[in-house]
Amino acid sequence: MKSLAELKAIREKMQNQVNMRSDDPDHIRVVVGMATCGIAAGARPVLNELSELVQKKGLTDKISVTQTGCIGLCQYEPIVEVFEPGKEKVTYIKMNAEKADEVFERHLAGGHVVDKYTMGSADMK
């Protein structure tokens, strides 16, 4: 290694992976419903998409993406919930990879809830 720049390049490439291994209560937690109903409705691509975006954009020190079991609203799967410390939970329903992209861009990175995909906007009668 002939320069510090080379070291820095490796660090940047690796630190998102390593950062995932922390146990920080201040993280924004993004939870994808991955019960049988969620998986059947296509939750896996959503989970993988969100996880990849967070790592690619270098946000693993702020955001953790995990799965959870059945949330109980099987007809609205795939469901993604966003828990931000000090804020109310946001629940996105009927997600897919493209919608997940949008939620990542606007909500997780940009800080604006994407209202059109949230549970509140769905017809809950």
Binding site: L4, R11, M14, R21, D23, S51, K56, Q67, G69
Partner: protein, 596 residues
């Protein structure tokens, strides 16, 4: 890119409880369920909670699984890794809250009070990947000293941090470097003492197995500070996993040019070689270690000349312990003030302890210096098992002493322990309860030093042997009060007349138990009794005729036929035949048999 990382401990503790099989099972199960591109399996170093091994942590949700078997793997994969439902029956019980939900590992008693500096990467990164080490800021400290600091500045930071040697003696690390730096020679050496030999101590092994690059980086920093271009790590051959990981780490560092010629283009050259020890305890002593690296029989030599002037191959050298080195990169990056803000008095920073013996959470803990012993035993260690009473802690291995229960609130640091004749030593802590005989403990450590004495000094070679003979006499019930005086006199004689640390400290376990548990020695001598019921020659197994139902279970179990009696009538033990194996006592369902 992986959405989840499963960390499996590959330290010696978990390896011996079967972590390799668990890892294989996991890898094949992930393939079977088509998850191999989503979940990454990482073999790490020690997490510290060896008692609960094999240990496995799932990130990003940080679920801590304990005592995992290959049979548990399909359930973990399909339930947790696929569906996100942690298998709570396998989660470390301390990591579950009252409602049974998984809580943060940092909230468990074992981890809550710990501050991880030397162990910061152990159990977090893959020790066989230099990239992961760099990902946590690895080799940045080396980059910083080479490009921004002069050697004198590096030494000053280490001095200011207050870091003292973690191997036992507690000599200020910065001062060691400062004494060596001005000495001129064609070559100087940086040595690492990884010949961890105290019974029950395994903190250095954990660092080497979990974060080997931290040691390499620190040695290169030390090399720059004192003007050396060659390092040696003297590691005991009994640590095969540590040796293997060091070899891999050295190779990777050379490949990246972080060891070798012209590091970071600054013109600084530094390389490291391994030397394996052959298992002699004395080779942990600095001059004996250097003699052994030179290829000679490992025996200590008189100081002065000190190694800083005339060390390895007669050249100026420094020798630091593994854990000491593991602190260095952090001190360089975060500053001397950060480090010295932890700890108390002249004991700065944190220290790793190996908790063992009669304690619930056997394992490795890293805590700020000055943490009260009570916190370590009761909170982090989870107390003494089976409701027994805490009696003492033996610290510092064969060179150390016992801290009795009455001192449980003592802050654990160099100076407070020295006041009561104990040492931190390398950090072994053996917890003892009411069933441990202190004379027997002293005998155990003395047997060790008798075996390990290199034989160079008469005081150590013969003195420790004579002391052991007296202890044997006492534990067999043949001791006299004069023996006790002779034992004490010999102890100080050996201490004062030995050349190296081994002999100078070998009598410590005896001196310290005589100081705090003299009544136990006297009970062995005068009453011919072992109060803890350990010394076989001094106890008899007896059957209480009131409680005995005459079930004959004990008589059938006795291997020497020492128990006789009629069915449904109280039995008796023939003490002449009895070999005191204790089998009858374990067999009796009525608690009728006791030791006296």
């Amino acid at each position: 890119m992986f959405r989840s990382h499963v960390l499996i401990c590959g330290g010696t503790g978990c390896t011996s409880s079967g972590s390799a099989k668990v890892r294989e099972a996991l890898i094949s199960e992930l393939k079977a369920q088509g998850l191999e591109n989503e979940i990454s399996v990482v073999e790490t170093g020690c997490h510290g909670l060896c008692e609960q091994g094999p240990v496995m942590i799932v990130y990003p949700d940080a679920t801590f699984y304990a005592r995992v078997t290959p049979e548990d793997i399909p359930e973990i994969v399909s339930e947790h890794l696929l569906k996100g439902r942690p298998v709570t029956r396998l989660v470390y019980k301390e990591a579950l809250d009252e409602s049974g939900a998984v809580r943060s590992l940092n909230d468990t008693d074992f981890y809550k009070k710990q501050v991880r500096v030397a162990l910061r990467n152990c159990g977090v990164i893959n020790p066989e990947s230099i990239d992961e080490y760099i990902g946590t800021g690895g080799y940045e400290a080396l980059g910083k000293v080479l490009t921004e600091m002069t050697p004198d500045e590096v030494i000053q930071v280490v001095l200011d941090s207050g870091l003292r040697g973690r191997g036992g003696a507690g000599f200020p690390t910065g001062l060691k470097w400062k004494l060596c730096a001005p000495n001129k020679a064609d070559i100087k050496y940086v040595c690492c003492n990884a010949d961890e030999g105290d019974p029950g101590a395994f903190m250095d092994r954990s660092v080497l197995e979990g974060d080997p690059h931290a040691v390499l980086e620190a040695m290169a920093i030390a090399g720059y500070a004192i003007g050396s271009s060659q390092g040696y790590i003297y590691v005991r051959a009994e640590y095969p996993i540590a040796v293997q990981r060091l070899k891999i780490a050295i190779e990777q560092a050379r490949e990246y040019g972080l060891l070798g010629k012209d590091i970071f283009g600054t013109g600084f050259d530094f390389d490291i070689d391994l030397r394996l020890g052959a298992g002699a305890f004395v080779c942990g002593e600095e001059t004996a270690l250097m003699t052994s690296i030179e290829g000679k029989r490992g025996e200590p030599r008189p100081r002065p000349p000190f190694p800083a002037v005339k060390g390895l191959f007669g050249k100026p050298s420094i020798l630091n312990n593994v854990e000491t080195y593991a602190n260095i990169p952090q001190i360089i990056l975060k500053g001397a003030e950060w480090f010295s803000s932890m700890g108390v008095g002249k004991s700065k920073g944190t220290k790793v302890f190996a908790l063992g013996g009669k304690i619930n959470n056997t394992g490795l803990v890293e805590i700020p210096m000055g943490t009260p012993l009570r916190t370590i035993i009761e909170e982090i260690g989870g107390g003494v098992p089976n409701g027994k009473k805490f009696k003492a802690v033996q610290t510092g291995g064969p060179s150390g002493g016992c801290i009795p229960a009455s001192y449980i609130d003592i802050p654990v640091d160099y100076d407070h322990l020295a006041e009561i004749g104990c040492i931190i030593g390398s950090g072994g802590m053996i917890v003892m309860d009411e069933d441990n005989c202190m004379v027997d403990i002293a005998k155990f450590f003395l047997e060790f030093t008798v075996d390990e004495s290199c034989g160079k000094c008469t005081a150590c070679r013969l003195g420790t042997r004579r002391m052991l003979e007296i202890l044997n006499k006492i534990t067999e019930g043949n001791g006299t009060m004069e023996d006790l005086d002779k034992l004490e006199e010999l102890a100080y004689y050996v201490k004062n007349n030995s050349l190296c640390g081994l002999g100078q400290t070998a009598p410590n376990p005896v001196i310290s138990t005589l100081k705090f548990f003299r009544d136990e020695y006297i009970a062995h001598i005068k009453d011919k009794k072992c109060p803890a019921g350990v010394c076989k020659a001094l106890l008899n197994y007896v059957i209480d005729p009131e409680l005995c139902k005459g079930c004959t279970a004990c008589a059938r179990k006795c291997p020497v036929g020492a128990i006789s009696g009629e069915l449904k009538k109280p039995h008796t033990i023939d003490t002449a035949k009895c070999i005191k194996c204790g089998a009858c006592m374990e067999t009796c369902k009525f608690g009728a048999i006791s030791k006296r």
